[in-house]
Amino acid sequence: MSSVDGSMDVLVDGSADALVEVTDLTVGFGSLRAVDGLSFRLEKGAALGLVGESGSGKSTVASALLGLHRGTGADVGGSVRVAGVDVQEASDADLGRLRGGKAAMVFQDPLSSLDPYYAIGDQIAEVYRVHARVSRRAARARAVEVLDRVGIPDAVRRSRSRPHEFSGGMRQRALIAMALACEPDLLIADEPTTALDVTVQAQILDLLHTLRQETGMGLLLVTHDVGVAAESVDEILVMRHGRAVEHGPVGTVLGAPTARYTQDLLGAVPRVDARRTLSETSTETSSEASSAAPEVVLEATGLRREFGRGKRAFAAVDDVSLTVHRGETLGIVGESGSGKTTLGRMLVGLLKPTAGEIKPGGGVRPDVQMVFQDPVSSLNPRRSVGESIADPLRARGERDEEGIRGRVRELLERVGLEGAHYDRYPHEFSGGQRQRVGIARALAADPRVIVCDEPVSALDVTTQAQVVALLGELQRELGLALVFVAHDLAVVRQVSDRVAVMRRGRIVEQGPADEVYDSPQDPYTKQLLAAVPALDPEVAAQRRAARRELATA
């Protein structure tokens, strides 16, 4: 256990002093009950993680702590006390003092959570002046101070920047700085690292940890990522359908979960240190294939893609060569801006390479299809899913309406949906189902290779596991080759036979998945792997220490 917990023991008995006390909280939006009879306590200086999948009501709880539902028409019942303030009964003025002054919130998406029109320092100063009677100049100085505190280099100058001039990690730091400005007793962090790269995520979690040690503030961390919670909190509360499923110390809940749902949830979380389990069945086929020299279905050599012209030209992908064999999965991992999506698009033919060439194996042009990241925006909302799936068939020149309908039905059933779903529209499906539609559309053209660009990153872990399983199944049955592009190292390990690690447009390391993960050679790969949150709190503490060494070394 970390040193922050020391103070907790003293305060455990002083029940009147609880930082947060939620009793029988219900929040309803019309007929929907987002939170349904939830109770929990958070002692001063302690850290609690609210973990759950989308729709579990965890963010609604976070908003309720600050009374953000007031005036929105939401139906709030039960009682919420935060830092001695009864959030339900408090006057608007008292609530205003609570918000930011005693309990500060850090939101998920750091780009949209800051006003794009004002300098970051001014926004922090504005918030500070709501709670402290100080001059503009003093508030500005305070803003610089907290920005410096959260590790923004050259804080005086950078405090004059607008949010778009900051990177994602720096924006998240700026939001944390805003939270720190008024020295709150409680920090509520709603998915604070979800939009960030894994190495940046590790930095932010480490920062939160250090700040908590130094200021002694309490933390309520809302996250869908069990690993992130394991890294940062003492206690975990698992939520589902607005209710608490399991609540206890982090080691117990993650180490020996008692609730069925928690067990399923943890089972679905891909582990970066676990070897591929799916491959048991596929090893037979791949060993068969390897004895007969696996057929190359796609080969790229010296790929390069530039964007912009003249002085502003920059290479998103630079000198990348790879081969994809029949029936195998090539995982491509990298952080945002590493060029992995550009590479994927070139492989499908959506982008023309500036240099280099893409050859189909065996002289035949391979049919390469794509599955996109966001199943919401990659389907036309005004057309039925059947029509969307039929597009590749029509594009190929098929005109027999009966035949097309039949084939689409077959595809829908193939990906685990019903043939009768042909005439439904995308909004009638869940995220996982929409991604299945996306996969069916990719299959429609009988491809030999499917490039999946972050196919599961928008999905909950249990849905993620189902979609990954579906892809594995299709691969075995149809002998498909998959190129799996993702930022999530654990997911990539779970699905890949071979892995390529990308950074700044180049492949820094490439090889069989187990080799790359178990004994990484490139320092960047090592850094990436060290940043992945561990599910075991003790391992997490070790990793944190290791990161500190890596950073100081």
Partner: protein, 332 residues
């Protein structure tokens, strides 16, 4: 080329090309329009000989490209015109002579333009204050009676023609109450006070109509901004509603307001015909309509070019304001 200088240069070149294209289009349109220009210009009682003479004088028998060439020549180096009895010189930016009354188009524009600009810019100030103010008020009191009332009023404003509002204003203010004399144009340089008093009603009637659109736009984009995540951030930090509305939500409405304003200013320079006619203001719009009716090609081309110039300039200014209002915008 980069930076502000580059932007000005690129826009300058763009403006010239746009204006050339406009002038070509107007020439071609007039060329293919049916009707005997010489007959119309000369008047219904002219004999065929007189009509023929007019046609020769106006070079109506020249082929299109030659007439257009003369027009360009006039702009660049000036032009000499014979009026039958004497030769008149029209110096460098010469847009030709009016077919009616032999007046130089450049002179004509210089007398009409101040009237139109006075009307438009005065009205602009009013419509921005009234429109944006109403919009902010309805965004602030959203969902309440005030908002519904304001929405109703602005809807009525959008739906009412300018001559109705103008006429009512004039009858009530000048006729019934006799607060103001019936408006007549007084030049700003002659008497600034009289200029303002006489233009008050025209400004008001033009502004009321336009303000309605601004109110609706301001309200809509503020409500859009209010639904965004960064507003939630400031709410969660206890920032008051006044600050959220006036500082954060209004800022998000700047870009669409600037765009709409540029559009309206540009088109009102030549398009406020109804207001000009109603209040007897001798502006560009009125003159343009008259010139079209009598097929007075040089006047039409000149006026259209002036209007086009203002539309282009208004949009360029809008682009600069965009970049000032939102640092993410880069001028190209």
């Amino acid at each position: 080329m980069s930076g502000f200088g580059g932007f000005v240069l690129r826009r300058g070149i763009g403006t010239v090309i746009t204006l050339l294209a406009i002038s070509v289009i107007v020439y071609v349109v007039f060329f293919v329009t049916p009707g005997n220009v010489a007959q119309i210009t000369c008047g219904p009682r002219c004999s065929p000989e007189q009509v023929h003479q007019v046609a020769q004088q106006l070079r109506l028998d020249d082929p299109l490209y030659l007439r257009y060439w003369h027009f360009l020549q006039g702009i660049l180096v000036g032009q000499d015109y014979s009026t039958g009895t004497s030769v008149e010189h029209c110096s460098a930016p010469c847009l030709g002579l009016s077919y009616q009354g032999d007046q130089q188009v450049t002179q004509l524009i210089l007398t009409k333009l101040p009237v139109s600009l006075s009307l438009v810019f005065g009205a602009m100030v009013l419509w921005l204050i009234l429109g944006v103010g109403t919009g902010v008020l309805s965004a602030w009191r959203r969902g309440r009676f005030t908002e519904r009332l304001l929405t109703g009023i602005t809807l009525a404003g959008v739906a009412t023609p300018v001559f109705v509002i103008g006429l009512v204003l004039m009858i009530v203010v000048c006729g019934q109450l006799q607060l103001l004399p019936f408006p007549q144009y007084v030049s700003l340089t002659d008497d600034p006070e009289q200029w303002a008093w006489n233009l008050l009603l025209p400004w008001l009637s033009l502004a009321l109509i336009e303000a309605a659109a601004f109110a609706r736009l301001t309200r809509a984009s503020m409500l859009e901004t209010l639904a965004e995540d960064h507003i939630r951030t400031f709410r969660a930090y206890g920032v008051g509603e006044r600050s959220i509305i006036g500082r954060h939500a209004l800022r998000g409405a700047f870009a669409p307001i600037i765009a709409l304003n540029a559009n309206n200013v540009g088109s009102a320079v030549g398009g406020a015909v109804l207001t000009e006619t109603l209040f007897g203001l001798p502006g560009i719009g009125q003159e343009l309509v008259h010139a079209v009716n009598v097929v007075d090609l040089p006047v039409v081309v000149g006026m259209v070019l002036v209007v086009g110039f203002f539309v282009v300039i208004a949009n360029a200014v809008a682009d600069v304001l965009y970049a000032v209002a939102d640092r993410r915008v880069v001028l190209v």
